[in-house]
Symmetry: C2
């Protein structure tokens, strides 16, 4: 049953400081590793940041949003562009598994976009990421200050379904 | 508990002809609609193809793989590029929810890539998709001829996790 996690998965922008265990982090990254990758290249890797100073540096490198440094853990999916077939897609598929696995463990998360250019280069420098690895986003994770309400069927939009043709 | 579905989600390349009900399709698309979208633009829509002739046309438009037309349903996620902030990422996030929801319902699925250029234009013509809607993939769905074995921890690669920095 994945639908409950899909409905409870919401962008969380306020985190409690409570730490997350190594076991929790490992379970989340395991979920991400088993996301599909284009041509099964499996070229996605993960940086786990818990250090307060590094989290603050990452937060300052991006459009500032307090929650980026408040979340106790930031997972950064990166992909080897020399090995991947569709690097941006691989990162998104892995990220979605991270969101869902975190949700199913009672944790909040969010896609914090890293824009190409200055933001990307700053994040690369802070984390020492090699030139041939790309990232599109970082994922703060932690317990939500106020767990957001799940999605409901009221939001479901049947008009976005087209039968047989457009 | 999403991990069981994540582990059981494997690319399926042989489908039984058994049909899928409208209710099953709706449940899968509901899961897709609740995937996150960049800046919450929610610009992803879905074409559901069950017509045998259309499935064959789609199959012939792409690098030929028999399973594309054998699967009883093909879901085609498309995104309004005028509304979306990160259209390719939005499509991938929605697709991953489709894979997981289908898996949790005992169904197989696969990312069948639609390459930019000739393939994309052919698919656009077959389905009548407007110019401002983009797609990256189609998703055949059905019961697997032979359900593939789930991922196991043996495949989990701890070397792809970097602590604090690269």
């Amino acid at each position: 049953m994945v639908l409950p996690a899909i409905l409870r998965r919401r962008a969380v922008r306020e985190y409690r400081k409570d730490p997350i265990s190594s076991e929790q982090i490992e379970e989340i990254i395991k979920a991400a590793q088993f996301a599909p990758t284009a041509r099964n290249r499996r070229a996605v890797e993960f940086i786990v940041v818990t250090d307060r100073e590094t989290r603050t540096a990452l937060s300052n490198a991006l459009l500032p949003q307090e929650f980026v440094k408040e979340a106790p853990v930031i997972i950064v999916p990166v992909v080897n562009t020399k090995a991947a077939s569709k690097p941006v897609i691989d990162l998104a598929l892995a990220s979605q598994n991270i969101f869902l696995q975190a949700t199913s463990m009672g944790l909040g998360s969010i896609w914090k976009h890293v824009h190409e250019g200055e933001e990307l280069e700053k994040v690369r420098a802070i984390l020492g990421i090699p030139e041939n690895f790309l990232l599109t986003n970082i994922i703060p994770i932690g317990y939500a200050e106020v767990p957001p309400p799940p999605h409901t069927d009221a939001e479901y939009d049947a008009k976005k379904i087209h039968r047989e043709k457009w």
